[in-house]
């Protein structure tokens, strides 16, 4: 991760239209932004679109960054919001497409993320359970385990206290444990 002073300098240059500075910031954070977007969207192309949109937003709003705050948290917060918006749009389009198509033309092999069917594939069951989590629990869980952020970074990205981040994380794990009990063969 870049030093705060280095980030501040890069952002200043970006505001002046410096292409190299912009590319440097992209190189430093592109994978973290991608992981955040992919965790929400679960689609490579949609995630890449969200990455581009996030850096476009950064280029336009570089002057709004407040030195002293976590730049990574600020950037991932933008990525998270953009990804959630994108997810909602895609979900709406998918619903419209499915309802406007004849039944026989809808591919039955498409994974249903919201279904509660008892699939034997634990990975699918786990992914569906994460989707079922309340929004804030899901974001904390995704940031902690997929983006591998520390709780203080999560708290900055979500603008919540570290204690709230930990509490949301604990509730998320508890819910997953409850929902996955049948699939994991746990005894209650």
């Amino acid at each position: 991760m870049a030093e705060p002073a280095e980030i501040a300098s890069l952002l200043k240059r970006i505001q002046d239209g410096d292409r190299e500075a912009f590319m440097t910031v992209i190189r430093l954070y592109q994978q973290k932004v991608f992981v955040m977007a992919y965790s929400v969207l679960r689609n490579r192309e949609d995630a890449l679109d969200a990455v581009q949109e996030t850096f476009l937003r950064l280029y336009q709003k570089a002057g709004l960054y407040k030195p002293g705050n976590s730049f990574q948290g600020w950037l991932l917060q933008m990525a998270k919001n953009i990804s959630i918006d994108s997810y909602r749009k895609h979900q709406m389009k998918r619903r419209e497409w499915e309802t406007s198509k004849p039944l026989e033309e809808i591919p039955v092999a498409v994974e249903d993320r919201t279904s509660d069917s008892t699939a034997s594939d634990l990975r699918s069951a786990f992914a569906r359970s994460v989707e079922k989590l309340a929004n804030r629990q899901k974001m904390v869980f995704v940031m902690r385990h997929y983006n591998e952020l520390q709780f203080n970074e999560i708290s900055e990205a979500m603008r919540i206290s570290v204690g709230t981040a930990k509490s949301l994380h604990f509730k998320a794990v508890q819910n997953l444990r409850k929902w996955l009990t049948p699939d994991l063969g746990m005894q209650r």
């Binding site: 994978q31 850096f55 280029y59 990975r123 994380h169 794990v173 746990m186």
Partner: protein, 265 residues
């Protein structure tokens, strides 16, 4: 969930190796001693192990992207977007607005309602005073009303002159042959015409009918005398009135004014 008073928020952090220092040691020592917490921790660990499968999927997706080329690609697109001139307001803004309304039927309906309502309010409130089709049920301009009143004044004058003429001729017959209409009835006719003349005076003055007014005034003067005629009135008095009419050529003047009025009606 067991009843142990450990910090609940530290559970998942401990299991994912994110709990540091003394709190980690405290948690580990407790799990050694407490079977219930240990069982719960095992379940949580198994749940978190499943994140590895999703993380593997994410790692696979990350590996499929050309990270070397992506920054330049993004920078090119973003800078190209930024260098585009800001679009000036287009002349076809109304078309764009109408198109957006077409895409939003509820908004279009609301706008149409506002336009119709505003038009209705405009027509209802635009001008005070009488309007066609409202109030009395008919409408006429001031000029038309003036013309109608003038025509009515002429007809009333004509009617007055004709009736006066009959009365005067009757007087002549009475004075010449000793017959004709009885004196009480003639007096009554004269009084009736005198009352009509009062009503006619306002019209004659308003429309400045000077010639007609002059002849009507002379007739009125005669009728004032006739109204006082009784059975006892001597024939000499009637002869005097007849002489006055002939001298002034009153009947001739009445005919001339009547013709003039008839031509104007």
């Amino acid at each position: 969930m067991n009843k142990c008073a450990l910090n609940r928020d530290d559970w998942a952090a401990f299991l994912s190796g994110n709990l540091e220092g003394g709190r980690r040691t405290t948690m580990a020592e407790h799990l050694e001693k407490c079977p219930a917490c240990r069982a719960e921790a095992d379940e949580m660990r198994r749940v978190l192990e499943k994140t590895e499968a999703v993380k593997a999927e994410i790692r696979k997706a990350v590996a499929s992207v050309n990270w070397e080329a992506l920054p330049a690609s993004i920078a090119d697109r973003v800078l190209a977007d930024a260098s585009k001139p800001v679009k000036a307001p287009r002349a076809g803004w109304f078309r764009a607005w109408a198109f957006s309304l077409r895409m939003k039927p509820a908004l279009a309906g609301l706008t149409a309602g506002l336009v119709v309502g505003a038009a209705a309010m405009y027509f209802a409130l635009r001008a005070p005073g009488p309007r066609p089709g409202l109030g009395t049920g008919y409408y006429a301009s001031g000029e038309f009303l003036d013309r109608a009143e003038l025509a009515m004044a002429r007809r009333n004058t004509l009617d007055y002159l004709e009736k006066s003429q009959y009365v005067l001729l009757d007087v002549f017959e009475s004075a010449g042959e000793g017959g004709g209409t009885p004196a009480p009835f003639r007096s009554e006719q004269a009084r009736d015409l005198l009352s009509k003349k009062k009503y006619l005076n306002a019209q004659l003055e308003r429309f400045q009918m000077a010639k007609a007014k002059a002849i009507c005034d002379q007739i009125e003067m005669l009728f004032l005398e006739l109204a006082q005629i009784s059975d006892e009135l001597p024939a000499a008095e009637l002869g005097r009135i007849r002489g006055f009419v002939e001298e002034r050529q009153l009947l001739l003047k009445i005919n001339l004014v009547k013709k003039e009025l008839q031509s104007e009606i």
